[in-house]
Amino acid sequence: MNKVNTKILIAGEGGQGIQTIGKILARSAFLQNLRTLYIHNFGVEQRGGVSIAFVQISDAELTYPKFAKADLLIVLSERAVQRSASYIGLKTKIISNSSLIARNLLPANNTIAEIDAANIANKEFAPQIISILVLGAILPFLPQLKKEYVKEAIQNQLDNKFKEKPELKNLNYKALEKGITLIKNPTK
C-alpha cells in the first residue's frame, strides 16, 4: 500500500451508511492533521443507485478527489461489486460484506477480508450500526489513523443523534471495537 497516499473506495446500497463511513474517515484524518479529501458520487439516478465514497488520506497535499485504482476497497452489496469493478487493481485489498456478497463474485487474485457485517450488525447491535462496524474493520488497514481521532470524528458526525439518545454513543464505540476484531491479518 502506498504509504504516502492511501486511496479508499467504499461502495454499497443507499442506507448502508457509505457516506457516513467516508465522512468519518476523512474527518478523522483531518483531526489528526493528515491531508485528506473526500467526495461522494452524485447524480440524478443516484437515488436508488449504488452509493460510492472516495476517500484519500495522505502525508502530502491532495488536490484531486478521485483516483483510478483503489488501494483499499470496501464493498457492502452485490451491486456495489459490479459498480466498483473498474477501481480494482492488482494491489487493491478488498473488505467484503459476506452477509450479502458471495465469495465467487470477488476477484480471485486480490487480498480479501470477508466480514459478516450485516448479520453481526443486525444481531448484536442495530441495522444502521453497520456503518460503524465496517468503519472498525477498515482501521486495521489504516495504521496511520489513531483510534482516538476516529472516535472524535464519530462524535462530530453523530453528535445530534447522541444528544437525543445518549446510549447510542457507547453502542457505536462498541461496534467500532467489534469491527476491528473482525480483521485477523490486514497486511496479508
Partner: protein
C-alpha cells in the same frame, strides 16, 4: 483557521469574508448548498444586513444581483450548466454597463441537462457568453484553498475594476470535502474594495461619469439615468471600444498564472482548474521531471506573454481539459504563430485521475 469543509461551504465563507451582503440564486446541482448555507447565515436575526433571495429562475437571480449591485451592495450568484445558459441574459447587461457582479460557476456535464456532476464545458459561455466581446474577469481555482482565496479576490477585482467577475470551478470542487485555511482579510492586512452605489444613496455621481461608457448615462445633480440601449451604429461602436480599452488597461494588473517545472521541460501541459491540480499531482507523485505545467489562474485576461515564452521553448504541448476543445481553442488562440505541435486531449464530463495522467506521460 483550518476548517474541514465542502467547496460550496468554502464559497459562502469567501463571500462573507469579502464583505458580500446578498446572494441571489436558483436551485441547481451542484451549487444548491451554497444557497442553503447562505440562507442559514442570512436567516439569523443578528445578520440583518445579510440578505438572500431564491429567485424564480436564473435570470431573476442574475438581474436581482444587478439591482443589488446598482444599489451599492456586494452581491453574488452561483449556478451551473443550464443555469449558466440562462444567466447570460443578465451577464450581458452587466458586461455592457461594467457592473461588478460576482458569479460562482461550478461546471457540470453538458450540453443541455447533461449530468449534474462535473465537466469543463462552460468555459466559452463564461469567458465569452452573451452578445458581447468577453469583457469579463474569469478566475479558475484548482484547489479548495484557491476557491477561498480567489473567491475573496473576485469581489475585490469586480469592485475595483468594474467588470463582471467569475469564479469558474466545477462540480468536484463544489462537492469535495477537505481542508482550507479560512483566513480573515483583516489579519492579513488585505484591504477590501468598498462597494459604491450607482443609484440611490449615498452615491458619488462623478464616479458614474468615469466608469460608464459614453452615451449610457446622464448625471444631473444627484440623479443618475442609466441605459444599455443605443440608437446609432456609431454609438455602439464607441461603447464597445471604450469598454475594451478599459479592460485592456487593467489586464496587466489582474493576469495570473502558475508555471510549474516549466524552466527545463521539453513538454508543457496546458490545463486549468482541477484538471491542472491532477496534472501537478501526477508530476509530483510520478517524479516526472521533463514535463511542465502551465496553469492559467485568470482565463480572462490570459497570461499570453508568459504562455508564449514558455511554449516557445518546448518540443511538445499537451492541452488537457474536460471538454472537446473549449480550452484548447483559447490556448491555440494565445499561442498563434508558434510552431510547437499541440496535442489536445479532451474528456467532456469526466476528470483525469493523477495515475491516468502519469501513465499518459510515461
Amino acid at each position: 483557521m483550518k476548517e474541514f469543509l465542502i467547496g460550496n461551504q468554502i464559497i459562502v465563507k469567501a463571500a462573507l469574508s469579502a464583505g458580500a451582503e446578498m446572494m441571489f440564486g436558483y436551485p441547481i446541482t451542484p451549487t444548491t448548498e451554497i444557497m442553503s448555507e447562505w440562507a442559514k447565515v442570512s436567516g439569523k436575526k443578528e445578520n440583518d444586513k445579510i440578505k438572500f433571495l431564491q429567485a424564480e429562475d436564473e435570470m431573476a437571480a442574475g438581474f436581482g444581483m444587478i439591482g443589488a449591485v446598482l444599489g451599492g451592495k456586494k452581491a453574488f450568484t452561483a449556478t451551473s450548466g443550464p443555469g449558466t445558459i440562462l444567466m447570460q441574459d443578465p451577464l450581458a447587461m452587466a458586461e455592457a454597463m461594467r457592473l461588478p457582479t460576482v458569479s460562482f460557476i461550478m461546471q457540470r456535464g453538458g450540453p443541455s441537462t447533461g449530468t449534474v456532476i462535473y465537466s469543463q464545458q462552460e468555459l466559452v459561455l463564461i469567458c465569452h457568453g452573451g452578445n458581447g466581446e468577453g469583457m469579463r474577469i474569469v478566475y479558475a481555482p484548482a484547489t479548495l484553498q484557491e476557491l477561498y482565496d480567489l473567491g475573496i479576490k473576485a469581489f475585490n477585482a469586480a469592485w475595483q475594476f468594474r467588470f463582471p467577475t467569475f469564479i469558474l470551478g466545477d462540480g468536484y470542487l463544489s462537492k469535495m470535502q477537505g481542508e482550507a485555511e479560512i483566513w480573515d482579510p483583516q489579519d492579513k492586512g488585505l484591504e477590501l474594495t468598498p462597494a459604491t452605489a450607482y443609484l440611490g444613496d449615498p452615491k458619488n455621481p462623478d464616479l458614474i461619469g468615469k466608469l460608464q461608457p459614453a452615451g449610457s448615462f446622464i448625471v444631473k445633480n444627484n440623479w443618475v439615468n442609466l441605459r444599455n440601449c443605443f440608437n446609432l451604429e456609431e454609438e455602439i461602436f464607441q461603447v464597445n471600444n471604450e469598454i475594451k480599452k478599459a479592460f485592456d488597461a487593467v489586464a496587466k494588473k489582474i493576469t495570473e498564472h502558475e508555471a510549474y517545472q516549466c524552466e527545463t521541460a521539453e513538454k508543457i501541459i496546458f490545463a486549468y482548474g482541477i484538471v491542472a491540480a491532477a496534472v501537478k499531482q501526477a508530476l509530483q507523485e510520478g517524479e516526472i521531471k521533463n514535463v511542465g505545467l502551465f496553469r492559467p489562474i485568470t482565463l480572462n485576461p490570459f497570461s499570453t506573454e508568459t504562455a508564449r515564452k514558455i511554449a516557445r521553448k518546448a518540443k511538445k504541448i499537451y492541452v488537457l481539459e474536460s471538454s472537446l476543445g473549449q480550452f484548447a481553442s483559447l490556448v491555440r488562440d494565445n499561442l498563434y504563430g508558434l510552431t510547437v505541435p499541440i496535442y489536445e486531449h479532451g474528456k467532456p464530463g469526466m476528470g483525469f485521475a493523477p495515475a491516468e495522467i502519469e501513465k499518459m506521460l510515461k
